[in-house]
Amino acid sequence: MSSSLVISSFGYIDATGWGGKEGSHRWDQSQGPLARALRWRMVSGSAYDRFGRMDLLSKYVSVAVEMLGLPLLENQDLPLETTMVMGTMGGCYGADLDFYRGTIQGDGPSPTMFAYTLPTIALGEIAIRHRLGGASYCFMAGADSGVLALWESAKLLEAGECQECVCIMADVLPQHAEKMVRNIYPGGELLTEYAYAFLLERNAHTPAHERSSLAEILISSPSDAADSIESWNLPSSLMGLLKEGRPGRLDIASPPASGLKEILSVIRCSTVT
C-alpha cells in the first residue's frame, strides 16, 4: 500500500456558488444564472484583466483553481514540478457553439472565441496566472473523465514525475447538450455546470507556505477495499467528502478498461497533517 500522496486543498464553483478550504460563497440565484453574472471581483476582490475574455469553461476552471489558494508568483522562473491534469466530458462544446453562432449570425469568426475552443486553453490560463511550468494533460473520456484525471494525477505523483498536481474536473454544457449527454449516459446525475480543483501532493514535498493535508490517497489491490463508487459520481462524491470536513472514505475503482487492478482510496481524516 502506498500512502505518500495527499490532497492538501480544494476549490469549486457551480451554479450555486463557489468556495474552497478557506470558506464558501453561496450565489443568490434570484440575481440570475451565475454563468452570466460571474465577474472576477466577486470571487477575488481584485482585478484580473484576462478573465473577461475567457469562455465559460476557462472562467470556471480559473475560479476553482483560485480557490485552492496557490501562491501568485511574479517574475520568476517557472517551476517545473507542478503538473496540471484535467478531465472533462464535453470540453469546449459551449465555446464551439458560440464560435459558430458568431460566425453565422454575428460578426464572423472571432479569434478570441476560436482560441477558447480548445479545452487545454483553460490549463494555459491557470498556468499563466499561477506560473505553472509543468506538463498539462487534458483527458476526455466521457463519464469516466473525472476518474481518469484523478488516477492519472496520482500515478504521475507516484512515479515522481511531479511534486504537486492540480487535478481539475470540469464541464460547462449548454441546455440542449445536457440532453445529448443524458442520452449517451442515461444513468446517474452527471454534472454539467461545474469546475472542481484538487491539489494533490507527494507527502514528502514541503511547499514554501506549508499546507496541511486534508486527505490521504492510497492505492491498493481491490480485495482490501469496499465497493467502489460509480465513476460518473466521482466529482460530486470527492468534493462532498472534502467539504464535509468529517472523517470519511471514498473508494474509486480504476477507470473501466484501464487494465489496472487497483483501487484508489481517498481517506478524509480530520487529524491528517
Binding site: R41, G52, D107, P111
Partner: protein
C-alpha cells in the same frame, strides 16, 4: 474625431469584455498593447474584426494592424484616413 474616439473607447470595452474598465478611464494617447491598457495579440485580432465590421476597412497584414492599434488616437486617425466615404 472626438466622437469617433469616444465611440472607439466604448466599442473596445464592449468587445473585449474589459470588466473593470469604463470607457472614460481609457487615455486615448496611451499605448493599447503591452503597457497602458495591456491588450494582447488576440485582442488585436478582435480589433481587426471590429474595424472591418463597423468601418468597412479590411486589415490583412497584422503589421499594418499593429501600427493602427498603437493607441486610440492612432486607431481613430487610421480609420479617418482609410474609411471609404
Amino acid at each position: 474625431m472626438h466622437q469617433l474616439i469616444s465611440d472607439l473607447k466604448g466599442k473596445i470595452v464592449d468587445i473585449l469584455n474589459l470588466e473593470d474598465i469604463s470607457p472614460e478611464d481609457i487615455d486615448e494617447a496611451a499605448p493599447l498593447f503591452g503597457e497602458g491598457l495591456g491588450l494582447d495579440s488576440l485582442d488585436a485580432l478582435e480589433l481587426v474584426v471590429l474595424v472591418e465590421k463597423d468601418y468597412d476597412i479590411k486589415i490583412t497584414d497584422i503589421e499594418v494592424g499593429r501600427r493602427a492599434f498603437a493607441s486610440i488616437n492612432a486607431l481613430a486617425q487610421f480609420i479617418l484616413e482609410n474609411q471609404v466615404k
